[in-house]
Every structure is written in structure tokens, then in C-alpha cells.
Symmetry: C2
């Protein structure tokens, strides 16, 4: 940007550019948008970043994000405590809660085993999961992503959990509802065929 | 998000969602990214928003964004003061400066005339432009966007400026360098043909 420097603007553009999925052009557009905000809007945006960072931490039980000691699910008296659904990320809990089908507990691993990225079992919240397995827990549902890493993590966990006498299940694979058979990939179709159910 | 609420996170997601071009999913992803930052990263992001907002204002002369009284271009002793390039937005100045061809002054209108959006000449920095026209100014280059609004603004300004005895020009239209003739639209091709130059 030869000849034209406005340092506070450049800093803000850089900050936006450091966010995932935001390129230089988008970062510029976002920065200009922030400049066009009222002072109080800018202040509340700035405050939201700090507040989220200060107040949100992991739930003591399931490692999901929360602003209390326990997350809303672990705190709830009406949720079934005999099943634990294991997911990779907090956003997966949000997705499952949005679906509204599941009424049990969750456990957030904060990642998946990925030797290529240097993520081993020790970096995930696996110890915390094993601590939760007691006589009350009847089933642990693997809801890691349907990727190589997610699969590997589910297999790894099931080998650890089965000797503890707990039932380990996996979310069903198949064609997505509302999808088009024509566009489904071969592996998905194979799995959908394998998992076919009687009508 | 039935059953799962983390208010500070929801506030942050809302803030990101209010930015242009950011949908709910992206906003969530950005909010999670912020949670994953170190404390000092989050603080410096938060501070960048406030600082940009506090320190950046319009240049007293050209209405571009700056953190001083004058912007770097108006402050510079080496820039040609006999030409003024009129653009719609500060980002257009950045784009032209990046090209590095132009060595004159700028004037930022902060928009274009658009009756449909209720933007008339009074909302733009047109008075400020007229005040700048003096015997020293030989040429005013219209570099508004090649849209209906940008064209209308350029025409409107040229009618105001020509009686003041100043030469008014327009950026050349034509096929973009590195583009493919096949994909150029008809109007662009017409303009490119009209504006053809001898080799």
C-alpha cells in the first residue's frame, strides 16, 4: 500500500485477516464496516470479545463451553444421565441440540486424533471421559465427524471403553435427508446400503 | 438452540453476524476462534476495534480516512497538486495507490448518488470538493465505480465542475487486463471498441 498508511486501520484489518476464512479484501470490508459503526456499537463489539474470553471456559464435567461451573446440560435435572454422546467440538453439541432428538449427556473431546497434525490422544479430553464412566452410564454414543480422524478417534475410544463394560455405539451413516441420491458419494451409498433398515 | 445457552458466546456470535457478508455459521466459527485465542490476542483484537474507531476520522482536505489532521497523500510534499482523483470510498484510494500509477491528490465522496437508496448529492462530500477547486487545479479525474450510480455521480459532478474552468476526465473503460474476451459482457466490449487506441 505504497504511500498510504493509516496504522490503526491497518492493525484492525490485520486482526480480521487473522480470523479463519477471512481474506485481505473481506478483512478490509469488515474494518470499514467497524469504522462506520456508532461509537457505542464499536464499544459493545469490543467488549463482547473480552467478555466471551473472560467468562467462557470448559464445563468441569463434559468439557463443553459454559459460563458457569457446569454447562446447561450437565446442570439440567431432566437430562438422561445414562448415555453420553462424544463429539469433537462444542459446535457439534449445538448442532445436536438444535436437532432436539437427544436427551442425554455430552462429552466434548476438543479435537480428533490426527497423527499428521501432531494431535495424539493426550491432547484430547479422553481422561475426563474415562473418569465419567460408572455403573450409571449404560451407553456411549460416538458422534465424532465422519472423517478419517473422527473414525480413528471413535475406534480408539471404543477399544478403551468396551473393557469398562459400557455399550459403545456410532451415529448411523447414510444418505442425508433432503439430499439427492445422484450426488451422494460412493462410500456414503455403500454405508447407506449396509445400514438399510426394514420399513 | 433449545436447552443450550451460553450468553457471552451468543452475544459474540451476534456481533460477528451483524458484520457484512458473515452468516450465522461463519459467525459461530469466528466466535469459537476468538475463544481459542490467547488472552493477549483477544485483548489486542478488542483494542484494535476501539482504537481504529477513536483515532480514525476524515482528512480535513480530501475526506479520506486518516489518523492525523491530514491524510498521508494531502500531507505529502511530493504529490502533484494539480490533479484530483474523485472516488466513492476510501478503499478505492487504497486500490489506486496499490496500482502505483497515480501521483496526484484524491477526493473521497463517501458514496454515490442513488435516489433509490435515498442518497442525494447533499449526503456526499461534494461541497468539500468544490471548495478545493482553484487556479492550481488543472484536472479532476472521475474514478467513481462503473455502475449506474457511479456514472450518474460522475455526470453530476462534471456538470458542476466544468463551469469552474477545470478539465474533467473519466477513467478509461475497456476489457480488464488478464481477462478473457469471451467472458467480457457486451457493454464492456462496446466501450472497449469505442475507446480503442492506435498501436
Amino acid at each position: 500500500m505504497a504511500g498510504y498508511h493509516v496504522p490503526p486501520l491497518e492493525v484492525l484489518v490485520e486482526k480480521f485477516e487473522s480470523l479463519p476464512g477471512i481474506g485481505h479484501k473481506s478483512a478490509q470490508r469488515l474494518a470499514y464496516h467497524v469504522l462506520g459503526m456508532t461509537r457505542s456499537e464499536a464499544e459493545s463489539f469490543s467488549k463482547a470479545i473480552i467478555e466471551a474470553h473472560e467468562k467462557i471456559h470448559y464445563c468441569n464435567v463434559c468439557c463443553n463451553l459454559t459460563d458457569g461451573d457446569l454447562c446447561p446440560v450437565c446442570r439440567s435435572a431432566v437430562r438422561d444421565t445414562s448415555t453420553i454422546c462424544v463429539v469433537e467440538e462444542p459446535k457439534d453439541v449445538f448442532a445436536l441440540e438444535r436437532a432436539g432428538e437427544y436427551t442425554g449427556q455430552y462429552h466434548v473431546l476438543h479435537g480428533a486424533i490426527s497423527p499428521l497434525s501432531g494431535i495424539g490422544p493426550d491432547q484430547l479430553k479422553i481422561k475426563e471421559l474415562l473418569c465419567r464412566v460408572n455403573d450409571n452410564v449404560k451407553e456411549i454414543i460416538m458422534a465424532t465427524n465422519p472423517t478419517v480422524e473422527g473414525e480413528a478417534t471413535a475406534m480408539y475410544l471404543s477399544r478403551l471403553l468396551k473393557p469398562l463394560g459400557v455399550k459403545v455405539t456410532r451415529l448411523a451413516y447414510g444418505i442425508p435427508v433432503g439430499g439427492d441420491l445422484e450426488y451422494a458419494d460412493e462410500v456414503t451409498l455403500q454405508r447407506a446400503m449396509e445400514g438399510r433398515q426394514e420399513l
